[in-house]
């Protein structure tokens, strides 16, 4: 395979800055890869060929000219990136994976997109997702599912299956995702890639179409821990347009990732995130990782978070409640789809009703209805109110756990990638896939998923999740980088080098 597409973002950045390759070559190589494999993978909803190449050429000419402008280029300048189609972009459609916004062009850029433009990363296009980020398999996209590059009959995780699959299939070295209950980390786990949900407020949400405002967070998707750190440092930081964004500077992430170490660190195994419901192959790889960490000088301790058992229940009250309100704006009045009722009077109420009936898919409707009910007078205290109390209890569990451990560790998802369609008719089974990722969203703490190896029973990737206290994102990168290098030393290279070959050259062989 072309080295330009298998390199990490950091490797590309070094080659670009040494003028060994041009950004145009790198960008064109990724566009070619998309042409070659995306018919199979379907990671992209929109490919942004012309603009990406124009930005690449601009970077190349700045670098060629030298001087202050070249010196001022961001380290990632010229490294292409894919954007989850939940994040609004001028000049490219933003659909949120929904018929409701099919063809809609945002007149404004999300804050993270402004930063990406300023740093001159060519944007390759917009990646597929479950509609409005609601799902764990990307099967709820209105535009068809994305497939897992490890096995095209399996799901790439969700909601950010498109971003994870794009990175896993070498269609992009970097991608942006959003994580409300695991939508960056769980796809990372099942595709053998790295995904980080930063501390709530570490990255501006302005321009990320809201699913559940108090849980949503934008974060990086990549093939290495260092690449994720580079991207989070680029897109993070305080934004006056997002009142919930933190004023802390997260500027030690890259150096943490470059100086990975677990020596003397206490790593807490969350007792409740394992056992029943967790696939044996997942647990085996998880135990291997623990052994490796011990061997590298970490102290592995067990911690208990007894209220985590209520996390899924609380999440499925808080998230739909916020969904029911956040998705109210999609009514056909101002933008997006408008459907007129087939018969009867054309009143605004009936037009809104017809539009929402036609524009939203089943999962979106399920959550809107659930949330509307949970917020209703007479039910609010029992549902939304109780769920918020559980949220406080989970935060206390984290506080207690972090008193005993510097970072926490668990499998990212209880299983490897399941088959397309397998859980589509069983929403509860689908929801259970997020059991280990949801507590971090409820508490606002950062979480990182990195590849932990392949499960013995199915040969599919397993994810290891690291969790740190709020604002301590750097700790994740430090521990994540250390574990990554231990694992890759054992494997003799990145896990993705074991993935089957895709595209025209597909032979079924391992490359």
């Amino acid at each position: 395979m072309n080295e330009l597409i298998t390199s990490t973002a950091n490797e590309l950045a070094e080659k670009l800055s040494a003028k060994e390759v041009s950004s145009e070559e790198v960008t064109q190589a990724h566009l070619d890869r998309i042409s070659e494999v995306d018919e199979q993978v379907h990671a992209f909803l929109h490919v942004n060929t012309e603009e990406a190449l124009a930005v690449a050429r601009e970077v190349d000419s700045i670098r060629a000219a030298g001087g202050d402008d070249a010196a001022a280029l961001h380290p990632l300048a010229g490294v292409p990136i894919a954007i989850k189609d939940l994040i609004v972009t001028v000049g490219q459609p933003t659909t949120a994976g929904s018929r409701m916004l099919e063809g809609w062009m945002s007149p404004y850029d999300a804050t993270v997109i402004k930063k990406i433009r300023a740093a001159k990363l060519p944007m390759l296009g917009k990646t597929n997702l479950d509609e409005f980020a609601m799902g764990s398999s990307t099967e709820h996209s209105a535009f068809g599912p994305t497939r897992n590059p490890w096995d095209l009959e399996r799901i790439p995780g969700g909601s950010g299956g498109g971003s994870a699959a794009a990175v896993a299939a070498f269609e992009a070295p970097l991608a942006l995702g959003t994580d409300t209950g695991g939508s960056i980390r769980q796809p990372g786990a099942v595709t053998g890639t790295v995904g980080v949900k930063p501390t709530y407020g570490a990255v501006s949400r302005y321009g990320a179409i809201a699913m559940a405002s108090s849980l949503d967070q934008i974060g990086p998707v990549s093939r290495s821990v260092l690449d994720a750190a580079l991207l989070q440092e680029l897109v993070g930081g305080h934004d006056p347009f997002d009142s919930t964004s933190l004023t802390d500077s997260f500027d030690t992430l890259v150096s943490a990732a470059r100086n990975g170490s677990v020596e003397g660190l206490r790593i807490g195994v969350v007792k409740e995130l394992g056992g029943e419901g967790f696939q044996p192959g997942v647990e085996a790889r998880f135990r291997d990782a623990l052994e490796m960490l011990r061997g590298a000088g970490a102290e592995v301790v067990e911690v208990s978070c007894p209220n985590f058992r209520y996390a899924l229940g609380a999440y499925y009250l808080i998230m739909p409640s916020e969904v029911s309100s956040n998705l109210a704006k999609f009514d056909g009045v101002r933008y997006g789809l408008r459907v007129l009722p087939k018969e009867g009077p054309l009143t605004i109420e009936r037009v809104m009703g017809a539009t929402r009936a036609a524009g939203f898919g089943e999962e979106a409707k399920r959550r809107i209805i659930l949330g509307t009910y949970a917020l209703s007078a007479g039910y609010y205290d029992a549902y939304y109110g109780s769920a918020q109390k559980v949220r406080t209890l989970i935060q206390r569990d984290f506080d207690a756990a972090f008193a005993k451990a510097d970072v926490l560790i668990s499998p990212t998802a209880p299983t490897t990638a399941f088959r397309l369609g397998e859980k589509l008719d069983d929403p509860l089974a689908m929801y259970l896939n997020d059991v280990a990722t949801i507590p971090a969203n409820l508490a606002g703490v950062p979480g990182l998923s990195l590849p932990g190896g392949l499960a013995d029973e199915d040969g599919l990737p397993v994810g290891i999740q690291l969790l740190a206290p709020a604002r301590e994102d750097a700790r994740l990168y430090k521990v994540g980088a250390a574990l990554e290098s231990l694992l890759e030393a054992q494997w003799g290279g990145p896990l993705l080098s074991k993935a089957p070959v895709l595209g025209a050259a597909k032979t079924g062989e391992v490359n």
Binding site: Y206, D242, T244, K329, A377
Partner: protein, 501 residues
């Protein structure tokens, strides 16, 4: 068809009214409550909007600090407690004037609560109105229904929506139930809204123009049998947007409720629409306490924190409350109750205060403003202060009269000249050749002619009918084209005829 009513007197014989008001005040901040779009009135539709106001996908609100400060000022002026920390909530309902299909509003955590305001009626009776809360929220857009006969949504072919007003900062001031106003309830309603309007204008936080909807009142009315303590069922008359309408709407609702109750019926809990032309209300939508807006705390905003230091620094900068200021000025100027009331009603308190500071006596200031300028403003259909007469000009003009250079009639002409922009009073006087004839020689000549022209009148005066002197004075004034000091003319006539006045 209008609803049956009892007369106001009949209603008052049987029932005690209970009032409650929700007054929405639009703040005059430069930008909107949650976005950087301009907060401006009267521009082309949908020009003062950005992605936040239109509720585009992905947008987030940011609280306008100036609006919070204005809200704290209102709370303090209404003697409220200011919350140290308070949150916004989402009020969820689908309507096309609300771009997000929820309104971001404070709900269970208002920024100001538990205050009061003393309302003085015209005869000096004072009612204390208790304030339950004053909370921050955003205004909705404006719908215009097209194609129907009445401009209402019923029968309209389509509707246009202007989001310029969407997101304009509002403070909603809610009273506790007002009991005990009795037959003065309609007057109190008017006086209350007037007082709120005056307070927010005095604070400088709102343009307070009711005709533009800067101050909008929803009036709640219920009746209970005389002597009862359990409140009756209320109606809420929405958007009563002039002081006069507030008074009439409350009176009408009292009379309408009284007719329903006296006939053994039950008042329907509902909103009512006010009709200025017929001075009646019609039923709106039924309103129950169970209206379900599915409120929950706004997750996109952090709590608004008002530190005690900030609140106290705002309190220290508050202007003198209008009612206290009036009390102080009335005493200082020595006006009688009716004199001062007229000054207040004419809207010239500020003007008189400035004129006195410029050097006029309170009596002179009142004479010029109330006697001359207010009338001219009425004719020109502008506010008196907008006529362009400066306090300095009034002091100068008054000096010319008191110095004997002009008589009142001439001074009035000079004032016209000043208003017409012809210059200072002295410049106008000179340019128009208005010079008081004070040369006794010239006057005596004119007096001789006047006496000769009316010998019978001269006889009467000689015979002791001094009041007849007016006819001769008139002749002299006519002969001098008004430029004589009438007092001096009178003296000279009597002197000449040898009569003691």
């Amino acid at each position: 068809m209008s609803d049956p009513t009892l007369s106001f007197d009949e209603a008052m014989e049987q029932f005690d009214p209970v009032l409650g008001f929700e007054v929405h005040v639009e703040l005059n901040t430069k930008t909107k409550m949650f976005s950087s779009a301009p907060n401006a009135f009267g521009d082309d539709p949908n020009t003062n909007v950005n992605e936040v106001d239109l509720g585009l996908p992905g947008v987030l609100p940011v609280v306008n600090k100036a609006a919070v400060e204005s809200s704290i000022k209102i709370g303090l002026a209404l003697n409220c407690e200011i919350a140290e920390s308070c949150r916004f909530a989402r009020k969820n309902y689908f309507y096309p004037d609300t771009p997000k299909n929820f309104q971001t509003s404070q709900y269970d955590e208002p920024i100001a609560h538990d205050g009061w305001i003393d309302i003085e009626l015209e005869d000096g009776e004072v009612f204390r109105v208790e304030i339950e809360r004053a909370h921050m929220e955003e205004d909705a857009g404006k719908l215009t229904h097209m194609g129907g006969a009445t401009g209402r949504i019923q029968g309209a072919e389509y509707s246009l929506v202007d989001y310029n007003r969407a997101g304009v900062p509002l403070v909603e001031i809610v009273t506790k139930p007002i009991v005990g106003a009795g037959r003065r309830a309609p007057e109190l309603a008017r006086a209350y809204v007037s007082a709120i309007r005056e307070i927010v204008k005095n604070l400088g936080v709102s343009d307070a123009r009711m005709e533009r909807g800067n101050v909008r009142c929803d009036a709640n009315v219920s009746l209970m049998p005389k002597g009862a303590t359990k409140f009756g069922i209320r109606s809420e008359t929405k958007n009563v947007n002039s002081l006069r309408s507030v008074e009439h709407a409350v009176r009408h609702e009292i009379q309408r409720h009284a007719a329903v109750l006296a006939g053994g019926g039950t008042v329907t809990q509902e909103t009512r629409h006010w009709h200025e032309d017929t001075r009646t209300t019609t039923a709106g939508r039924p309103k129950s306490d169970a209206d379900d807006y599915r409120y929950f705390p706004e997750p996109d905003l952090v709590p608004v924190v008002a530190t005690r230091e900030w609140v106290e620094s705002i309190r220290a900068q508050l202007p003198e409350p209008p009612a206290e200021r009036r009390k102080r000025l009335k005493a200082a100027w020595g006006y009688s109750d009716p004199e001062f009331r007229d000054v207040v009603n004419a809207g010239v308190v500020d003007a008189i205060e400035e004129t006195i500071s410029a050097g006029a006596t309170p009596a002179a200031a009142r004479k010029w403003w109330m006697g001359e300028i207010v009338g001219r403003a009425k004719v020109a259909d502008v506010e008196p202060a907008e006529l362009g007469v400066t306090p300095e000009a009034i002091v100068e003009l008054n000096g010319l009269v008191e110095g004997g250079k002009l008589n009142n009639k001439m001074a009035a002409q000079v004032l016209d000249g000043v208003i017409a922009g012809e210059g200072t009073p002295t410049q106008v006087m000179e340019a128009r050749g208005l010079v008081l004839v004070s040369d006794d020689g010239a006057l005596l000549e004119a007096i001789d002619s006047a006496l000769a022209a009316q010998p019978e009148v001269a006889e009467k005066i000689r015979g002791g009918k001094v009041q007849a002197v007016g006819a001769i004075v008139g002749g002299v004034m006519k002969a001098t084209r008004g430029q004589a000091d009438a007092g001096r003319v009178r003296e000279l006539i009597l002197e000449k005829l040898g009569v003691n006045a």
